[in-house]
Point group: C3
């Protein structure tokens, strides 16, 4: 029986959660001093600022918009590659990101910027970027689940995903005092393992009943390429969006840009080697070429050097493409882990790798290279962290990566079991990867392109003669 | 008879109008002091500016580019959803926007920045943004007419649309001294009613002869989703592009971002409730989720508060989706108003709503919230408007909305009658929504995808055996 | 025999070149003083800079991202118009741009910013923009070769293309001291003639064996329109990305914007006149409307005046569309020059034109218009060029255009002969324009959309009854 009837559950979830957002925003969220009309005039006066261009808005808005494009067009269109699940790929991505970013502003606000006196959270452009980042964790998880879950389940994945994200981020960034501006650990490692763990719990032994739809067609691959390219092009903005003003943002862009470029070449190389006639596989090009951006998330703001960045990219292209060729099939057969988009190879492993690369680069940092004030600024070694040595910092960075993995795995397993309750409207095994389940598709004959009617007409004519 | 022969009329209009642009630009348009080589050096000296970063260019260029993307890719691709009118959707949008922005620079210049001494209009980055905005009014109108008019008619719609826009904008912004940075009134309300009025005059009783083409196919809906997402993502830039430097732009972005996010959830909810199995409709997702951006056009720069923004978005998603479900069919049946893209629900009503929300928020503004100088700056209450009270300002804002509606309706009816002259090459009723009319389509069998030939071949082979 | 087996050659080239990059970057490339952590702190101190916003990053990063989008999505998707070569169009564009930008950083670094003391090249955001520009030359050349060469050949085209580019750029910009911020000469003229010369050497007399695939389908034309629009919208950023801070960037944007708008109208006009029923051709709209951006590459930063820009755009639309209608077919028949994308009309001729327009505008520059310091800044007339008169500058600009043509033609012929060695895996004449050669295509029946199977099923059912 087709149990994908969501006429009650989806609107209920959307309304309840959106009304909750209205109330919670009313209680908690206010403009910060750089976006508040009165506050900004006072801020300028008290900080002796003469020009509006010093508003943080002008440092971060171009990067914010790039990140925004990555979240909605990048992730959204990357997931349109399935021949008959493109609406779900881009549409549900839209839904859960729009919900997630609101919930993220609250969760991150409570943990990071709740004013103890007023009890309010103040938000500005950096909060919006962080909210987008926070959604990314859940969108990554969606990649593993693509085509096998209902939008209601995705809302739950996002609710818990954002919550877990805020907690692990608090532990990693505040308690362990790690640096992770581009989120190798907090976004990609967490999101990757979170999605894999959920998918493992939701294993469907008879998924091959939908096998005919678990693949691309020519034009769906081109739509996915739009998403892939916007992710690839704007990853320098992703990693640099919240790094330090000045040389910090500047260097992060250079490092990410170089690493991504190198990754493309090794991705093409391994993809070609993996097929007996040397033919390239669009899945690799769309995904593995992005792995360098993931892996540079932590270390791009450090002085990793241009060639260091290229080496990271070089390795990521190889590892990620190998993952698509051999590890994903292995996981599915042996570990009963169905990972539709291969987030294991694009997020989980490169993210983990990026966490450890960051640890090494942090441990190797010296005052000679960074300068005294540069070292303090880059690693935030002031206040109670003033005396932390760089090798200690490196160890904490490595520990942060492990925390991200643990949160992803444990959280994912728990959420997976919640999703197994039979009330969320997920599709039957032979109805996966099919937009028919949740979308009114164009044409009466919904799974058939318009040419068919005409063909039938031709067939009839042909046979009459 | 097929009367879509535009080999004479289209080139004639293009050449005449473009030559007029050359002459009028030669007579009137000059660089402003921030883009003129000599002028900028003098400006820096006279204003004691030490850094080039103070040039308005750096405050506005990132937003300008986002607006530019919305005009050409956003509006253009949103109109590719029809199965066989995608070329016309994106192509004619391109044509009329490229013409409209030139004419807008002149019209807006004459009304807003004509130097009485030199008789020249000076332009800078803000003029380009305003020119793009001005085009938007006509592009919105195109949404109602999509598939039913010729490119020559569209050029006329744009010529008059831009002209009317500049006049109503002058009345609303200068005479009534309303604030409307994101154009809820001047752009969306005007553009929406302008298009609806034209479409009403051009009513085609036999349009169902083209019914087979008045719908989408799977991939055309994905192309439209590209347009929808770029509009959705960049709407914060649209609303903030010409607001005040500093906290003004910063706050406008936050408000628009939040409102749009909330709107997505209620759009999904109502869309699902509107179908008996709870299936979602791509038309709603592509359009209604944008209504919040429209409705925040006036008030986003005010201190509407974050939760106020979310409430506006919440309501807009509901109203707009209801509009698509029930109002558009009603308008077509009862009022003889054929609105191809449903601009009534995306622009006219949310725009009007936004105008009134702006009036309320303006009337509620206090010195306590904005600060003394903030209030003056935000509402421009200097010079002869120095003593205007906030409730008066609110009343003027409401009046401005009515002016926009009136200009749209009256102007649209007049232009509609001009378009009924039988010389503009519009398609017959059974030839609407068909690119065949104005485009050389690929393949000999133009309305049939390439697969057919192969199929016929297979059919023959099959029958031979 | 099908000789497109690239399982050895492509990975070999990718690995060898990428490893070379690692080594060369390790030896030569370092952060510049605005991206180096320590360097920036010292730079601020020594230059008395108080705000991080003065970092060049904030002047150029938004433009850089636009240029990046043009290179990867703009060029990439513009080349997806062929019905069965879209993977190759966007995919190989991705590969060669990712390689080219690394090699460009080295080549341009050696010629322009090698520190004679340390022997190092320092890079910052401007270097990244220049690297993207440098790739553009080779991507333009790819346009002429599209569908007829292997990815290995493209890597060679790029290796030599970038090398030649750096040399001619050094001659034109440094030795002749021309101004060419948007690259009419160094990018478009060079890239155009380079590609044409290669294509001429690689002439295939029997290319009509692949004729069935040398054309578009409905949706491939829409994908190409995405590329075209992103190029069109972001061309103001392309031309202004490395012009002078302040009024320089500001004015360049205005000029390019106006010129492109005018170009659209004349393109539509001529396209309609060129067909007997006045129907428009997507090839013209996608390509000729961009010619104005190419032609403004040199002069957009000068005081060409707004109406001057419009006149250039006006002419370019006409010339370029005529080129597509008459010159490309002529070149193919008479000169045995097969130019898949028509780069002759979009890059070679408008680029050359732009070079000469730039020469004229430079020669006409006066202190009255630019101001004394403006003239020096705009044309860089300091140091040993202090006493160069404007007419001399104009003559050098014209000479620079000739240098670009010469480099393109001679370099292209040489590279063409290298590509004729029979070891690069290029496709046979009947296998051109076919992704089948280098890509694993979706579905077993690779050239047939999924609908066929279903159709056959229907046919069988039909015939059984």
């Amino acid at each position: 029986a087709n149990n994908t009837y969501i006429r009650v559950s989806l609107p209920a979830v959307c309304f309840v959660w959106q009304i909750a957002m209205v109330i919670l925003f009313g209680v908690f969220i206010r403009y910060d001093e750089e976006s508040d009309e009165k506050g900004w005039h006072e801020f300028k006066r008290s900080h002796n600022i003469t020009s509006n261009i010093e508003n943080d808005f002008y440092f971060r808005y171009p990067s914010f918009q790039d990140v925004h494009v990555m979240i909605f067009v990048g992730f959204g269109f990357l997931m349109t590659f399935l021949k008959r699940y493109s609406f779900g790929g881009v549409g549900f991505n839209f839904l859960i990101a729009a919900f997630g970013l609101q919930w993220a502003l609250l969760m991150q606000g409570w943990f990071h910027s709740l004013d103890p006196v007023t009890g309010k959270i103040t938000i500005g452009i950096e909060s919006l970027i962080n909210a987008d980042f926070c959604c990314a964790g859940s969108l990554i998880a969606y990649g593993a689940l693509l085509g096998k879950v209902s939008p209601v389940q995705l809302m739950i994945v996002t609710l818990f995903g954002v919550t877990l994200f805020a907690v692990e981020e608090y532990i990693i960034l505040d308690l362990l005092h790690c640096r992770d501006a581009g989120g190798s650990m907090v976004i990609h490692t967490f999101g990757g393992y979170y999605g894999l763990a959920i998918s493992w719990v939701l294993y469907r032994p008879n998924l091959n009943l939908s096998k005919r739809l678990n693949g691309s067609v020519y034009h769906s691959d081109l739509f996915a390429m739009i998403g892939a390219l916007f992710l690839w092009m704007f990853w320098p903005s992703f990693n640099s969006a919240i790094t330090n003003h000045g040389a910090g943002q500047h260097r992060t862009v250079i490092n990410t840009y170089l690493s991504l470029a190198a990754c493309v070449l090794t991705t093409f190389a391994i993809s070609s080697m993996g097929q007996k006639k040397g033919k390239l596989d669009m899945v690799h090009i769309q995904n593995a070429s992005l792995a360098a951006g993931v892996a540079m998330g932590t270390s791009a703001e450090f002085m990793i050097t241009p060639y260091g960045s290229i080496i990271v990219g070089f390795c990521c292209g190889i590892i990620s493409t190998f993952g698509y060729l051999y590890v994903t099939p292995f996981l599915e057969k042996r570990l009963k882990l169905q990972d539709t988009c291969g987030i294991h190879n694009l997020h989980a492993v490169p993210g983990m790798l990026g966490g450890f690369v960051g640890a090494i680069v942090a441990a190797a940092a010296t005052e000679e290279v960074y300068g005294k004030e540069g070292l303090v600024e880059t690693f935030g070694l002031s206040g109670k962290f003033e005396n932390r040595s760089m090798s200690t910092q490196g160890a904490y960075q490595a520990a942060g990566t492990c925390v991200a993995i643990a949160f992803g795995l444990v959280g994912g397993v728990c959420v997976g079991f919640i999703l197994r309750f039979p009330l969320w409207g997920d599709p039957a095994d032979d109805f996966c990867f099919d937009d028919e389940a949740y979308w009114e598709l164009p044409e009466d004959e919904e799974t058939i392109p318009p040419v068919l009617e005409y063909n039938n007409h031709m067939i009839n004519k042909h046979q009459d003669t």
